[in-house]
């Protein structure tokens, strides 16, 4: 029972940790109570296993509870209750890894914003009494007629905010969050505008005081005067003067101020000077730099976002970003894009990955496997139970799903290593490495984790695990930074052959790093840098090798081979490398020697580029169906939209004119749904008779043919389509997405079934034509591509997206969120006629909203209610409905029209990562396409042109030909 109690305590600690500053009543109980329930369920069983030792530091819910669950099992046979318990535990636990824990961060923010804003707004609203508080907002909210016009919007806002504060709408809290923020902005802008205008208004008020109008406003004016007198708490008295009376010299010479203000100003000046003195007295630079104080300061600064062990090294050389509860190096400050690429290909690029979270699971092998089998699927290939991984010889990689929910609701990508077993029937130990977004931020991490790409580690079997015990790497540092090269004369051919063929023996995979006591011991007994330097300085021959003898520490490390590019036919083995796992505390001790041996350090951006060149999925970017991926997409959208809005309208692309509906995010759900409708529609009629139909939805399908036919009036047709799209698709998508939300699933999903993917990958290749030398025969288990087989595959995987890799045929460099579309027969004709043909052009679209925005602007100017105006967006109520929508010049307002048929070429997907690839020498992109759409295209394309698609950047009208590949 004792360990269990401590578990509970730890859990409480971790729970309260992120929330200590703001106690949010709405979120806390909901999250903690079920957790404690689970634990209390486990307690009776736990008494049987007092022998099990406490797990390693990463005190995460998952680990503990799964461990408990697995130990429960011996009792399973006797008690009938136990199996259900195990099931519930597995069900409860695993989803919580990502699901409950991840939204917590977002959840924390949203209600907090709401709570902070709501009382403030409601407070001022409620007090309409003549005694005004110190804020200037009161002036605007005086009891008069004109204010009554704008007042209704505020109570609405207030009630909305109150609702969010109560936490009623947690499921779509992100939307609410945005809303809350905008409202906060609106609220915060009011005082500013008022403050600026008080001067002029004061003047006006004085001159018009005699008039009856002013008499009616007496209360208002009074309030205003009061506000001018009682200046804001944190503003200077200088600011109370109207702008035209302010002078520069007033800031340092009080006598320049009007006499009535001089005394107040003097007080203020004294106060500030006193404050300054106090600060400087206690915190001289010397004092601040003193070791103890510095450490305190560092601890304070990493309270919110943890620092890695190499943080200070990185902070001097990298642009740091705060992400996922850590402070991480984004990219080097030096200009080294190509240098990093060269390091990836030829030398060694080093990246600190210790922000990745490690979960340790312990228990009997069968129990662990039984619990883990529910979160994975054999459909995606080998699972946790793969023979090679289970023996501890190899590292495995997987996508986890919520228990029994495959293929819906994925959680995230993980890699895992089993501890090699020495004795059969031993308790097994499993490490699972996950991305921090899919797990709670745990304050302690097990060990450091660097990725290194060296020489050519592609020569040994993929994922090999190698356990080593090494000397202190600080002892034999080279004097100068140099590049280390392998010495070919020292190795023997026979050994190499053996190694390359059979890999490393299972014994070699064992390392004492698996043992917690050893790890702790090594961490504790590390000789501090200072002592080591002292010993070095006392050497008789300066610069000679320092040998510590018995005091020398032996550090267990684990090397894990990373296979590099495995999929596809070209560049195989590109970017292969080693992951080095080091005990806690030894990060810097290993980092510096790596750097001294010529490794180049990279940040998050370099890691992203590496995985892009490698053609591997990068965790939050390429997992739009995981909760973490969705959150990432949302953040990215907000960031890009903000960046876009910061530019003046004339200096930024008008995406409406470019026909780009969603330049900042990819509407996957809508895309998948629309293709489902299109294909269903064409299936109702004969697939052959595609042309010339009048039904509104089939217009989407027929648009490519129809557009070509009616070349004389393309704009008219598209206009019709657009308007139709707005009506029809808005209706369809809104209702359907709402339905999907009601069901509690994202709806669309990413296809990860190996068999289907392999089938698709064969279908995507052109079956004839030049350059297809060495075409592999279609294996017997795969079908030929026919419309029927295509329909059967897409019917088996509804609303699916396929991850694909696109290579541009000629010039061009794809960008983020580029559209992937279907070329028409005419495009192919042009291409075969003219080899230099780049691709068709999208005709310019018309911006219907520009006019509307102008109108609104004009009407706003007439009415002049300054409170509603924001810098870019204008809150309006659209003429037909009473719906508020944010109109921004150049962006489509919600709801989006049909994403597939908006342009002259039908869209099947979007790009999630794209750039000019230095590895291949042409533009390359990774993205998702709708499975239904892809099959629809493939079954209709000529055999020699199969897999050719068009790609268009969001800010460009030029389509370019690209080759679509699905690599498994």
């Amino acid at each position: 029972m004792i360990p269990d109690q401590s578990v509970l305590n730890q859990l409480k600690e971790t729970d309260t940790l992120p929330e200590e500053n703001v106690p949010t009543e709405s979120t806390r109980p909901q999250q903690t109570v079920p957790l404690e329930d689970v634990l209390s369920d486990c307690t009776p069983a736990d008494s049987a296993q007092a022998a099990t030792e406490e797990t390693v530091e990463p005190a995460t819910e998952v680990e503990e509870v799964i461990q408990d669950a697995s130990v429960d099992n011996p009792l399973e046979d006797t008690a009938a209750v136990q199996p259900t318990l195990l099931e519930t535990v597995a069900e409860e636990v695993v989803p919580r890894v990502a699901e409950e824990v991840v939204p917590r961060v977002a959840e924390e923010v949203a209600p907090r914003v709401a709570e902070e804003v709501a009382p403030r707004v409601t407070g001022t609203m409620a007090e309409e009494s003549p005694t005004p508080p110190d804020t200037l907002t009161e002036v605007a909210l005086g009891p008069s007629d004109t204010e009554a016009e704008m007042a209704p919007s505020l109570p609405e806002a207030a009630t909305e905010l109150q609702e969010t504060a109560e936490g009623k709408h947690i499921e779509d809290e992100t939307g609410e969050k945005v809303k809350g923020e905008t409202q906060q902005e609106a609220a915060s802008q009011e005082p500013e505008t008022k403050e600026c205008e008080t001067g002029e208004m004061l003047k006006a008020a004085v001159t018009e005081l005699a008039s009856s109008f002013a008499q009616a406003r007496a209360a208002e004016v009074n309030a205003m005067l009061k506000a001018v007198k009682n200046k804001n708490a944190n503003s200077q008295v200088f600011q109370a003067l109207p702008k035209h009376m302010r002078r520069r010299a007033m800031s340092h010479n009080i006598k320049r101020l009007p006499r009535r203000l001089q005394t107040i100003a003097k007080k203020e000046a004294d106060k500030t000077s006193q404050q300054k003195k106090e600060v400087s007295k206690t915190k001289s630079r010397k004092a601040r730099r003193r070791h103890g104080n510095l450490l305190l300061e560092f601890n304070r600064r990493q309270r919110k976002n943890l620092w890695l062990e190499t943080h200070i090294w990185h902070a001097k050389r990298f642009h740091m970003v705060k992400k996922w509860g850590y402070c991480l190096g984004d990219k080097p400050t030096a200009k080294c894009y190509r240098a990093c690429y060269r390091a990836m290909t030829k030398h060694c690029l080093l990246q600190d990955l210790s922000y990745q979270c490690c979960l340790e699971l312990r228990g009997a092998e069968d129990d662990l496997l039984k619990a883990l089998a529910r979160v994975t699927s054999t459909d995606m290939g080998a699972t946790f139970a793969a023979v090679a991984c289970l023996s501890g010889k190899r590292q495995g990689s997987l996508v986890l799903y919520r228990a029994d929910r495959y293929p819906k609701e994925p959680l995230g990508q993980v890699t895992f290593i089993w501890k090699p077993k020495k004795v059969p029937s031993e308790e097994r130990q499993l490490w699972i490495w996950t991305h921090p977004t899919s797990k709670q931020v745990s304050p302690q991490f097990l060990s450091l984790y660097h990725t290194v790409w060296v020489g050519s580690p592609a020569e040994i079997p993929a994922g090999t695990v190698l356990g080593l015990t090494v000397d202190d790497p600080r002892l034999n540092l080279p004097n100068k930074r140099s590049q280390s090269m392998p010495d070919p004369s020292r190795v023997q051919d026979l050994q190499i052959r053996q190694l390359t063929l059979s890999g490393v023996a299972a014994e070699c995979a064992w390392s004492s790093i698996w043992d917690q006591a050893v790890r702790d011991n090594v961490t504790e007994n590390k000789i501090p840098e200072k002592e080591l330097n002292h010993m070095k300085s006392e050497l008789l021959v300066p610069g000679s090798h320092l040998s510590l003898g018995p005091k020398d520490s032996r550090i267990p490390i684990l090397l894990v081979q990373q296979p590099g590019k495995q999929t596809g036919e070209e560049l195989s083995g590109w970017g292969s490398g080693w992951d080095v796992l080091v005990p806690k505390g030894w990060g810097m001790a290993f980092w510096i020697p790596f750097i001294y041996r010529g490794a180049r350090a990279g940040g998050l951006q370099e890691g992203l580029k590496h995985s892009q060149n490698k053609g591997a999925a990068h965790f939050p970017h390429d997992f739009p169906d995981c909760p973490a991926g969705m959150r990432f997409a949302k953040e990215q959208e907000n960031e890009l939209a903000d960046k876009f809005k910061r530019r003046p309208p004339a200096k930024r692309p008008n995406y409406i004119k470019h026909g780009s509906i969603a330049p900042f995010c990819c509407p996957w759900q809508q895309l998948a749904e629309e293709w489902e409708i299109i294909v269903k529609d064409s299936g109702d009629e004969q697939p052959a008779a595609l042309k010339g139909r009048e039904r509104p939805l089939s217009a989407v399908q027929g648009c490519e043919e129809e557009l070509l036919k009616s070349a004389e009036s393309p704009s008219k047709l598209r206009l019709g389509l657009q308007l139709e799209g707005i009506e029809v698709d808005a209706g369809v998508s809104v209702t359907e997405s709402k339905k999907a939300c009601a069901e509690g699933i994202g709806g669309f999903r990413v296809l990860r079934s190996r068999n289907v993917l392999r089938q698709l990958s064969v279908w995507c290749r052109p079956t004839s034509g030049k350059g297809q030398r060495g075409q592999r025969l279609v294996p017997s288990f795969q079908q030929e591509l026919t419309p029927e087989s295509a329909v059967s595959v897409s019917a088996a995987n509804p609303l699916s997206l396929v991850w694909a890799r696109l290579t541009l045929l000629k010039k061009g460099s794809p960008a983020l969120h580029a559209m992937i579309s279907i070329p028409t027969a005419e495009d192919f004709e042009q291409l075969s006629k003219d080899p230099a043909y780049c691709g068709p052009q999208e005709p310019k679209h018309r911006d219907h909203f520009k006019h509307k925005i102008k109108q609104i602007k004009k009407s706003k100017k007439k009415k002049q209610p300054p409170a509603e105006e924001t810098s870019e967006g204008y809150k309006t109520s659209s003429p037909d409905g009473g719906v508020c929508s944010d109109l921004t010049l150049g962006l489509w307002p919600e709801p989006l029209p049909s994403v597939t048929s908006h342009c002259s070429r039908v869209t099947i997907g979007f790009v999630t990562q794209g750039d000019f690839s230095l590895a291949v020498g042409c533009g390359e992109a990774l993205g998702f396409v709708s499975l239904t759409g892809l099959l629809h295209v493939l079954s209709r394309q000529p055999a020699d042109r199969r897999g050719l698609v068009l790609m268009r950047n969001a800010a460009s009208l030029q389509y370019r030909f690209a080759k679509l590949r699905i690599e498994v």
Partner: protein
Amino acid sequence: MADGGVTLAQHREIDPAEFTLRKRLPRKLPQRRNDVYVNMKTDFRAQLARCQRLLEGGEFNEICIHGLGLAINRAINIALQLQGNGLGALRLAPNTSTVELVDDLEPETDQGEPVSRTRNNSAIHIKVFRADPQ
């Protein structure tokens, strides 16, 4: 064949539904500046021009052209073109060899053991050098 290799009879039995074939690249050996590895992806003229430049640069009196498998043909072609353009000043010294390549079979199911097997491929190394005036 060592313990990792599998005999030919066993190769035939491998079901593509259970295993994925991944070819490893041939081993990289240290490369001098006058070694030219010919491939099938780069344009032929570019590779020929590169050899020409190396020879005419005056730095090297000999270059070595390596071709593996499908690229053997191209390596021979390049060497002969060089000789033809060299106005009789260049000589060729071809050598053939066998390179051992490794294929990995990654299991698709939990039960499969990963297997590595070797296969041989032929290679050619053509030394192109200036004939001595004597």
